[in-house]
């Protein structure tokens, strides 16, 4: 980070979030808020540990709970405390933190946070201006609220899995928990909207989020299509049903499991594609004379294109096609993005930050830049209980003696 940008303010400076989130969906939400400058205080304890701390640990033989890069990427810029909710002083410390917070976010199963002693009614007693954002599979309201999801089952139920894959194959679904990301994005939005509402009216509120609904909102078109046109959803692979364009697919390239996506939208692009691929003959072929005929003969079209792309180096081909204005992109692996994507490099998308046990590492950036503010990438995730002293003494007003006795009594 340059000196100049570090002088700019953080957008959410002064906003405090008590963070009871774990795994991916909740931490993704608080990651955005922390990147934007909120003071996110992650509360953990051995009985409600963020289990990402043991996911992808850098050295599986080292039992430290501070060595997961996966966790660090999700919880960077946050502070962390441990608090024992079974100890009255531990519980009191959490309640004092809630009293000093604007927002509390959790993504336990519906009802679990209430069973931990933090029902919405209780939260309002602790702090009437506290906003409560809960993220669960089915939401807290509704007949199936006791059901639970992980990303993949939420994707399955929502329709997002069925909408991924080739027509003659099983659903390919998602190779990661897309709805954990998406629920996190929406939870960050929900927290910010609720803050704006509170700023205008003084009212805090509970926002009840459902992870499955986050998938249903991106399945809106087939839901409307079924009601309006009676059409049931059928997978289309990488082709484009709407708009009805062709070629629009992934094609094999030279190398091991290398593919390029090409999406032609108009006749100029079609001509350019054929010229770059040396397929000028296709321009004379009546089966491919216009968009409608190309669409009607898409199997033959894709076969003809794939037969020549498989000889081509994918990145060279992409650059050549882009130079002619043809939308084309290599199906990039993570190493392609992190080590040789000039756009991501130029934009500084993988900033580095320190972490006491993991050392200096790169992090995924925030995908936006502000002209009058900075986002931050100051440090990796908090060590377990790293900020106990700072939060309890500086923020919550405990004396050093009180802090020492709480440590001794295992309240924190």
């Amino acid at each position: 980070m340059t000196t100049m940008t570090s002088e700019l303010p953080l957008p959410l400076d002064g906003v405090r979030v008590t963070d009871f989130s774990w795994i991916v969906a909740g931490p993704q939400a608080t990651r955005i808020l922390a990147d934007l400058g909120a003071d996110v205080v992650k509360v953990e304890n051995e009985s409600y540990l963020d289990s990402m701390r043991i996911g992808l640990r850098q050295d599986p033989k080292n039992p430290s709970l501070n060595r997961s890069g996966f966790h660090s990427n999700l919880s960077r810029n946050k502070r962390g405390i441990t608090a024992n909710l079974f100890h009255p002083k531990g519980r009191e410390a959490v309640e004092r933190l809630l009293a000093e917070s604007d927002v509390v976010i959790e993504n336990y199963s519906a009802g679990a946070f209430g069973r931990m002693g933090f029902s919405w009614e209780r939260l309002q007693e602790i702090n009437p201006s506290l906003i409560y954002v809960s993220v669960s599979g089915f939401g807290h309201v509704g007949r199936d609220a006791s059901y639970t999801t992980w990303g993949p089952s939420a994707q399955a139920i929502s329709g997002a899995t069925a909408m991924s894959g080739l027509a003659d194959q099983p659903p390919a679904g998602w190779g990661f928990s897309y709805l954990d990301h998406s629920a996190g994005y929406y939870a960050a939005i929900a927290a910010l909207m609720a803050l704006h509402h509170r700023a205008r009216t003084g009212e805090a509120q509970h926002v009840d989020m459902s992870q499955i609904e986050c998938g249903m909102v991106v399945s809106a078109v087939p839901m409307l299509d079924y009601q309006v046109n009676g059409r049931r959803y059928v997978r289309v692979g990488n082709r484009s049903r709407y708009p009805s364009t062709a070629p629009h697919n992934t094609y094999p390239c030279a190398g091991d499991d290398r593919w390029i996506a090409i999406a032609v939208d108009d006749e100029d692009q079609w001509i350019s594609l054929c010229e770059v691929l040396g397929l000028d003959g296709l321009l004379e072929d009546s089966r491919f004379a216009d968009m409608a005929s190309r669409k009607a003969n898409e199997d033959a079209l894709d076969t003809a294109i794939g037969a020549v792309t498989c000889e081509r180096e994918p990145f060279e081909l992409m650059i050549e096609l882009q130079a002619r204005g043809v939308p084309a992109g290599v199906c990039q692996r993570t190493d392609d993005k992190q080590e040789r994507d000039p756009q991501l490099a130029e934009r500084g998308f993988y900033p580095t930050a320190p972490h006491e046990e993991l050392g200096e590492h790169r992090y995924e950036g925030l995908p936006m830049q502000f002209s009058g503010a900075r986002s931050r990438m100051d440090r990796g995730a908090p060590l377990l209980g790293e900020h106990n002293h700072a939060v309890l003494t500086e923020l919550l007003g405990y004396s050093d003696e009180e802090f020492a006795s709480m440590l001794a009594e295992l309240a924190i």
Binding site: L56, G69, A156, A172, G175, Y185, S210, E213, V217
Partner: protein
């Protein structure tokens, strides 16, 4: 818990009541919708022929002259005006519109509005627009060597990484792009957070500013384990059928149930606790399907020393997988959930219309859709605000539906001036 008493009062204002937004271009419609459903007054500015989504199917009755369902899904609660920004008169009106709003969503291109003289460069030089929040949403951002590259959703999901994680065990089959224009969704979700953060700063007395959202970066940030696997272990994840990509192959967790519908068994169906395991065995016994799983050794390998016997674990997963393939999918889903397994059923999107749980939550918004008799149920918002409901405030607007209301009623043109602009194709 069925709590009809807990349904938010829809008469209440939304969380963003009072916010005014101008939206232009084709890559920011989802962001505009999220703000509009939350109560902001969002005016979408389209060229006189209509924005892209109006021309993309499916259409009502599959008739391209009828409204587009893609447009309907992204434009609830908005108002719509038409304006040709490339004509000087149109640009002059655009500049006046900017003066009416708090936020501009500029999803045209990194350069178009600046080249026309009505973009961020112009706005930031106007003292009276000092509060303006200008959110640019573009394929690759407003800077960088590939700023002007051509992309659509397929190309974005290729370049950003999700596709290499999605697909099949058989790598002769291509990486897969899920349908639904997810690159627009995720970038717009980030953009809304950015806009609300910039507005938060403005409330604190800071001036307006430019937010430069890159779709490529938004997609690149949405790949979960692929990033740490490379950054910390130098390993690439490999796509697998219907489950997480992984550096090493993992057991299948998507199975075809007896009625031809798929089910999703997280973690290969292996239980996370003793109580769930006992319930599962009882259920399997009802179908004589428990095989030897009651043997004490499986308790040991499931709950005490998971790494000790991978073959034993594989046997348990295979037996459970075989069991679910003998039952209808809905039974697998409901019964497993009642036993506290987080299993799912692979539904087509439209199948959720019949699930009463979503009715309990008020998820679907019943409303008009032009060209359709009666009402349809729109998928709503994934969040229930208890005091300031997010909801559909208007049906999706027709092309130019609010021209008179906005240009005459709010901008102060005369009806005659508007007629002239319509005739000359400016509006």
């Amino acid at each position: 818990m069925t709590t009809s008493d807990n349904i938010p009062n829809n008469a209440l204002p939304g969380p963003l009541e009072g916010l005014r937004v101008l939206e232009v271009g084709d890559l920011g419609e989802v962001a505009g919708k999220l703000l509009a459903d939350a109560g902001a007054d969002v005016i979408r500015v389209e060229p006189p022929g209509g924005g892209r989504s109006r021309h993309v199917g499916p259409f009502v009755d599959d008739d391209p002259r009828q409204p587009s369902l893609l447009h309907a899904s992204r434009n609830t609660s908005k108002r719509a005006v038409t304006l040709d920004l490339t004509q000087p008169e149109g640009l002059a009106i655009w500049k006046r519109l900017v003066g009416l709003v708090d936020v501009v969503i500029d999803a045209t291109s990194p350069t178009l509005l600046d080249e026309l003289g009505g973009g961020w460069e112009w706005a930031q030089a106007q003292p009276e627009l000092g509060d303006c929040v200008w959110c640019s949403i573009t394929p690759f951002g407003r800077t960088g060597p590939r700023r002007d590259w051509a992309a659509n959703d397929l190309v974005q999901l290729a370049l950003g990484g999700p596709m290499m994680s999605n697909g099949y065990d058989d790598h002769s089959l291509p990486p897969i792009r899920p349908e639904g224009e997810h690159s627009v969704a995720v970038s717009n979700e980030y953009a809304v957070s950015g806009m609300l953060a910039a507005l938060w700063m403005r409330n604190a007395g800071q001036p307006g500013q430019l937010i430069d959202v890159s779709i490529h970066e938004s997609v690149s940030a949405t790949t979960e384990g692929a990033f740490p696997n490379w950054e910390y272990f130098g390993r690439l994840v490999q796509r697998q059928t219907g489950r997480h990509a992984s550096p090493d192959p993992t057991a299948a967790w998507q199975f075809l149930a007896a009625d031809g519908q798929y089910v999703c068994l997280i973690n290969g169906g292996l239980p996370r606790g003793n109580a769930a395991w006992d319930g599962l065995l009882d259920w399997m016994d009802e179908h004589d399907a428990a095989d030897d799983l009651r043997d004490e050794q499986y308790q040991e390998l499931l709950f005490r020393d998971p790494r000790a016997n991978p073959e034993g674990r594989r046997h348990v997963a295979d037996t459970i997988g075989k069991f679910v393939q003998s039952l209808p999918a809905e039974e697998v889903y409901r019964r497993s959930q009642s036993l506290h397994f987080a299993w799912g059923i692979v539904r087509r999107p439209e199948e959720n219309l019949d699930d009463p749980h979503w009715e309990d939550r008020g998820f679907f918004w019943e409303g008009e859709l032009p060209g359709v008799e009666g009402t349809v149920r729109y998928p709503g918002a994934p969040y229930r605000f208890t005091r300031s409901p997010v909801r559909m405030r208007r049906r999706p607007p027709l092309l130019g539906e609010h021209n008179h209301e906005v240009y005459v009623g709010e901008l102060g043109l005369t009806a005659e001036e508007l007629r002239g602009l319509l005739e000359s194709g400016v509006v």
